[in-house]
Symmetry: C2
Subunit: 341 residues, 2 copies
């Protein structure tokens, strides 16, 4: 089985975006603010949005199951206040839940949190609990910068975030550390902000001892870990200067990298540098880079091709495709076993 | 000849830091503010700080000439106002100039600019002119984020920066795009902020058409280009989605990457992905990562070893070591030719 640990609902019916635009307009003019109940998307529309997009590509490329969460760039936690984010997160998570019910063999949910800049993260717990207990979600996405490119929250190692971590440990769910859209004109969202956040999150963990407080906490750093594997020597050297243990002991019991790296040399480096137990298959399809690479004739985000060509053994590929995901996402493993998979 | 295009005066005599601390204290209490003339560092102290450090390592590792600029993390453009930065930049540049006079065969200067957040970059021109015309400097360091991790200036493609670019083109000098210390607790200076800035700067150029306005403008992106070469497929795909030309045509006549990547797999990727004409030898020695890699027994920042082992031809290595630098830094080439080198 091939599990793609990084998929967002980027293809939701247009009614979702229209509702969000009305919600945003309502922040200035409450008279136009929509109720959540005014969003009506039928199962047929959901089915079509998936069957003609993600599911078609999964079949074409040979992946089986996608860990599916709301569109990352649309989380936009910087917009409005906690209530804005709470309503929006609830709507987006419910849609992913419905997709996972319509296609139970192919999608399983990961929750967007109703984060809001400057608001205590513990306010996110009720939505998280609902998504795990009622929707059967098996992970969360945690945004280390709900300000959207202004980086005003404390580092991930700060006690500020501990309420989320305590719940993650209790539920045995990992967090993908994933920012949303950048409203800082310096940072292009998918070309700079996403990759910078990956590097930043890793370094926040490196300088701290977070995993001493939470030995079973698990973070998935997406987009192949940002700049981290390419600069693995730099990070090993910085850890050494800071008197930290070897990265393998200091961070690699808790941090995993996905394979959203869109060319062969990048995947070759990732799998050469990072222990295979810490690499999770992912494509972030359909996402930031949708085109066909003229150098290969295949889609940039068809990452399975790179894994197949990376010179790995069958056992290593199995870990990246399935084994590691079952270990990092225990509730996914349990859900699969319950179905005899 | 081996030219290291990325060296900072990280080993300046302690009197420099003491003076700076007094300058900073003087921002709150003008009574303790020092005059520039109160800093006295003799030639012997300068000589010793170089001979026992950078020059010793250059001889040991076999590099010949370092493009030498003030310590990047100490630029700290966010401190004080323009006058603060102007005095500090003048002092730091003069020290690098004196080093280049004491060791004319081994060091040539690149200027720190007296940037200050929110201040028009054209205020930097007099210092730049002095460094080129009086000191014989052959490049500048340009900080895209003088706020120190808050990213409040416009992107590098904005007309805000054009006065600097016009002078660079007039003088035919490149800029290394290099941030300084981070005062944002989210970003570790050398583990996150530096790499993020490299990625950010590249993406700012990718989304714009800056080099249409300045076809001969040249940027050196340090630290191996941040996350860029590792994600080259992502950047190629993003350029494609944005309707930009191929990166080779869009950016690689103007952008160069240095080799400050501190392990063999990173250098292997860099030289596999980026055309050899766009790679410049550098080590940033003595800098962020000073230790010995237990996996190799050699210093992390002894980057020449990685280049030697990267499977390049003699001609390719010559370009990376010398040929490209002579092309990217025409005033360096002229200075070398004037000495028959």
């Amino acid at each position: 089985m091939i599990i793609d640990c990084h998929g967002h609902y980027t293809t939701a019916p247009k009614a979702l975006e229209a509702w969000r635009n009305r919600q945003i307009a309502g922040l200035k003019d409450p008279a136009v603010a929509p109720k959540a109940s005014e969003l009506a998307i039928g199962d047929d529309a959901l089915r079509e949005s998936i069957e003609t997009n993600q599911l078609a590509k999964m079949k074409e490329r040979g992946s089986d199951l996608t860990i599916f969460s709301p569109r990352a760039s649309f989380m936009a936690h910087h917009i409005g206040d906690f209530r804005t984010s709470a309503t929006w997160a609830a709507i987006c998570n419910e849609l992913c839940h419905r997709v996972s019910r319509l296609f139970p063999d192919n999608f399983i949910g990961a929750a967007m949190l109703p984060q809001s800049p400057g608001v205590d993260p513990k306010t996110c717990i009720p939505e998280l609990e609902k998504c795990v207990n009622e929707y059967g979600f098996i992970a969360i996405n945690l945004n280390p910068d709900p300000s959207g490119g202004h980086w005003k929250e404390p580092p991930l190692s700060d006690r500020h975030w501990y309420p989320i971590y305590e719940k993650m440990v209790e539920y045995d769910i990992p967090a993908m550390i994933h920012v949303s859209t950048s409203c800082n004109p310096c940072f292009h969202t998918t070309g700079a902000h996403y990759l910078n956040a990956d590097t930043t999150a890793f370094m926040q963990c490196l300088t701290a001892d977070l995993f001493r407080d939470f030995p079973t906490l698990k973070f998935v750093i997406p987009h192949g870990g940002g700049a981290v594997p390419y600069h693995w020597g730099r990070f090993r050297g910085l850890a050494q200067e800071l008197g930290k243990p070897l990265l393998r002991d200091h961070l690699l019991n808790n941090i995993y990298f996905d394979t959203c790296v869109y060319h062969q040399p990048g995947i070759d480096l990732l799998t050469r540098v990072i222990p295979v137990d810490n690499v999770l298959f992912a494509s972030e399809m359909i996402g930031a880079v949708r085109g066909i690479d003229p150098e290969t004739g295949f889609h940039y985000d068809d990452t399975r091709r790179y894994i197949e060509a990376a010179g790995l053994s069958a056992e290593e590929r199995h870990k990246i495709y399935e084994g590691n995901a079952r270990r990092v996402y225990p509730r996914l493993d349990a859900a699969l076993r319950a179905k005899g998979r």
